[in-house]
Symmetry: D2
Subunit: 344 residues, 4 copies
């Protein structure tokens, strides 16, 4: 039996990836797509400037785009995937949750709210139970679940693997792909023969979201992890795939081999979109590379490599496909977990 | 009065930059250029596959390329600039120094030798006096002086400015331009839509060379600075200009303003190739960028920006033109200082 | 004696190049800069998102930006350089000309109007005399002079050199730099690892503008040249410099040597911004290349190479810096000619 | 029943694509891989620097690489796919054919030999019968079959569709991907922010190979087609996918619609690697684009777009994946046809 789902913000860069993932999905059926008022009322095939290198699914081309408003969403669509600009998400997601929809959202609004689960299924799937608290406090029939920022999702799985060694501090330098800025976010004049050393708001996300993701949920609240993270976020001329240089300092002694083993042993899940191997650790110091390795695990694995001991812990590189594992795939995976756990 | 100079390895990427800088130089006159045996005997204009975006100086086009051997260098050329592959440098530089030539070298061989000055004039010009020690120990009439690796030169000036606050540890993630690998070092298949997370041997250079550059010369030896550096070196799709994300932890409390002031106040020198402002600190968090800012100070300044306090010190970005300030310009500046101080 | 000039649309990509060229210009003095209403009233240093790799001239940083309206331009500024969006140019240029200003414009509006000179000084400077006709027919005190589209300017000089052989048809395939689309015209998602095979409106310009440029002015009108041009315009991932593959079919027999000689002999002018050599012809079949050769002649020469005979004429490549020779420099050169000929 | 096959030159850029296509192929079984003497004797997984963005097939990793010599190929491998450097192909292919192997080769040697079929199955599959002539004249038990150059394969299918209108002349400007030069053929310094206006030997191939492909085989020889082609070959910064601007002049009048219809109606074949639609014609003038459309038809279709009438015929853009349809896939398709027609 499939679940009818909607996609909020379906014409954007992440929205198109949601379409790509959900159209052939055996558990979900796309029943509705929404976009801004400019696109509403037009067939999706016309409204979306499709920019993915596989063709737009035929079934979607003729689907009419709805406005992103509660009353434009059919009642028999229990699960919504959201990749809205945060200002829009902030306005429309809560009323939808109040009206009974479960929203698996990639939008950055409300990620750090105390009663909103911020979840990577393999890392902290148990945080979904925070929905109980959320429903109590907000008097909602639906629920709001968030996945983290794409650059956070890249670094947190390896850091989660190192938590057992007493993770104390981390330094993260990102080299992020242009698709993370949306289709028009980064101009060609900005990025050819260039690197942008700053992405507005990004460093704060990488520094704060992990404390929630790595925190412990005690049934009432998520106790934040005390890791102290400093991030420097850079934009480079890659299409997809965020690569990050990370240093993790641990209380306990740790070798590069210990770290590799811990990363490899972080279990994958048995959800439809889960990769067989959650973290793929490369031995070759030249890997992972964005162009060659972003599709590892169908774009849903996190890749790591270049492990080396430092005087205070280990350093490594990590890579994830920012619009698959880091955005659309992250929301879909959360949706699959929501269904499996009975929240939808 | 001008000094007659030679260029060893004049056809390579850095060698061409040396030609570009030395041809119009008011204090130097290019008297000889050398290259590998394949090129020897041919006019420079034919032997060099000129790849700089200003035309090859006319005077050089007809100059015959000599072999890179002591007996191929005229006696009346007291100063040689060297940008040889390190294996070649190791073999030919010492005999040249023994024969009385002063060699200002960009080659990586012998940089960490105890009696070889490793010098950035604005940072540790006084280390040149190590030449006394060198001449004594090696019984040379000439001298061998090195400039550091291009990625080291980018990070060390800002770190030198922070030394007064008790610099303890640094994390450095580099995003290096392809010209740093020489004309054929990085293939197009490797770098289009990609980042390479590893550059062989580079991390070790960035971790060790600064301890010598920031060390104190006591008249007999250079006492290494105790800063503990961890580096992760990445290659990105820029032509010129290494950008680096740096975290510096200091014993003393330090604000971003303190750091900016200290960087701005690091004095420039009065040499021909010195920029007016040694470290250019940008307020705009989007700067410095390789394409826009690598030519600051004629390609001889170091640019910094994105200063931010962390719990343990400050973080910042820095940028230098890797084949000018980071290589050819570094050697030329050392050459100018050698002449000014009377070593040539 | 210098002429006071204004720049209309001074904050855009071409506007910034106009500032770069006009600030140090010995014959002109920038008295006024205009931009859209969003920018009006702010200092230029704040309103312009400066994106050229040399610093913004200090003198301009504090100049207040005016609105692009006739009454916002001081009366004592006889010459205006215009790089406005064509819809704006169409609206504001004619009233300015009526009010007595001479406008040297890069905007595409009115380029093909019968009484508007469309001029490349070295090719058809005599067409400036069409201003007499223009003033008569429009009852203007000022004048409107246009330079062609950047991709036209690249191909026309070599074609003009071949006119003596009876130029009949031409095929032009362009590979145009992203700066031609303005700062935000081409997104990074569109161009990394990609080529765009279409630029709206561009092919028509390349096919029609040359017939006017190569036409004969008989004192009353410009008789269009009958060359039949077919163009295919592509956008590639270069920052600056349009490269074009051209086939020119001629009535008379022509060798590659004839063509090279004719191109080299097309005379340069004696204006301040004229290059010494108008068309630089390369022997090396690998040249010209955008990155290496766009700055030939200070960015004001046209480069050609790869000359080869075909069964119907010759084929060649040509290159010009699209925002210098192809836009801002083109307008400045027209301005210099307007002053020299006494129209200002 | 599967055919055992060998891959000559299996470690190069095209060789890796052959491995990628042949490993999962239902009709073929990779029995042997060869490479240069440096690689011979090592397992393929070690000898090949795998650079494709899907993992190397497990079965291949342990296969020992053989030398590219007749006596190193097992006797029970009737079909060999060859992507050798032409100098090597020239030396080893004929003895292999003499020894009874059928060689489907992508190497450029012998493509224009009168008794060697140069074949694109959908265009001139009947030319395979030239093998009879070949076996007679050379006294071979095996056979040598060639596919054309990658840039030829891109342009010829649309030109073949236009042949019915009396194709007289064509102008072809290519914008070729770097993978066409092999892994080390184009350096990053050459291509970032640049276009190379010349590819040695390429123009001649594009000008001559089509006359053979479009020629008529009369049972004894291929009568060359009389189309007069002029080509200009450029290298751009794309990883895969050659885009070409083409003008085709025809004796008969032709509209853009006629041309589109003729292209769409060129029949596909029923071979395993045949795409459903041989030539995919886009209506959107912005397509085809290399990054978005090179994988149309699994990388085996040819894409066309931008159709427009000229005074002498039509102009259009075309695109094919240069290492799939343009090289490895071309050889595999020829191999499938060789088996189907009973030559293997």
């Amino acid at each position: 039996m499939t679940t009818r789902v909607g996609i909020l913000g379906a014409t954007g860069a992440v929205g198109q990836r949601l379409v790509q993932l959900l159209d052939p999905h055996p558990e979900f059926e796309i029943a509705c797509v929404t976009a801004s008022d400019d696109s509403a009322g037009r067939p999706y095939g016309e409204a979306a400037n499709w920019r993915i290198d596989v063709p737009m699914p035929d079934a979607l081309a003729d689907l009419d785009v709805a406005r992103t408003e509660p009353d434009a969403i059919p009642d028999d669509v229990p699960l919504l995937f959201s990749s809205l600009p945060s200002a829009v998400g902030e306005r429309v997601e809560p009323p939808l949750c109040e009206a009974g929809y479960v929203v698996s959202s990639n939008s950055s609004n409300d990620r750090m709210a105390d009663d909103v689960p911020l979840t990577i299924p393999e890392v902290n799937g148990d945080h979904l139970d925070l929905i109980e608290v959320q429903r109590d406090s907000r008097d909602w029939d639906g629920a709001l679940v968030k996945n983290p920022n794409c650059s956070t999702i890249t670094a947190v799985p390896p850091l989660a693997a190192l938590a057992e060694f007493g993770l104390e501090t981390a330094h993260v330098a990102t080299m992020q792909a242009v698709s993370g800025g949306g289709y028009s976010g980064v101009t060609s004049m900005e990025i050819i023969d260039n690197v942008l050393p700053h992405i507005g708001g990004e460093e704060e996300k990488v520094e704060t979201e992990p404390t929630k993701l790595l925190g412990e949920f005690d049934g009432a609240e998520v106790k934040r992890h005390e890791v102290d993270i400093a991030a420097s976020c850079n934009r480079v001329a890659t299409v997809d795939g965020h690569l990050e240089s990370v240093w993790a300092d641990t209380r306990e002694d740790i070798t590069a081999d210990d770290a590799a083993r811990a990363m490899r042993e972080l279990p994958a899940l048995d959800l439809h979109s889960s990769p067989d191997q959650f973290i793929e650790v490369f031995e070759d110091p030249d890997r992972p590379q964005p162009r060659l390795d972003r599709m590892v695990g169908g774009g849903m694995s996190v890749a790591a490599g270049g492990l080396r001991e430092t005087t205070r812990g280990v350093q490594f590189n990590c890579l994830a496909h920012n619009t698959l594992r880091g955005a659309a795939g992250a929301s879909v995976l959360n949706g699959e977990l929501l269904v499996e756990r009975g929240w939808v």
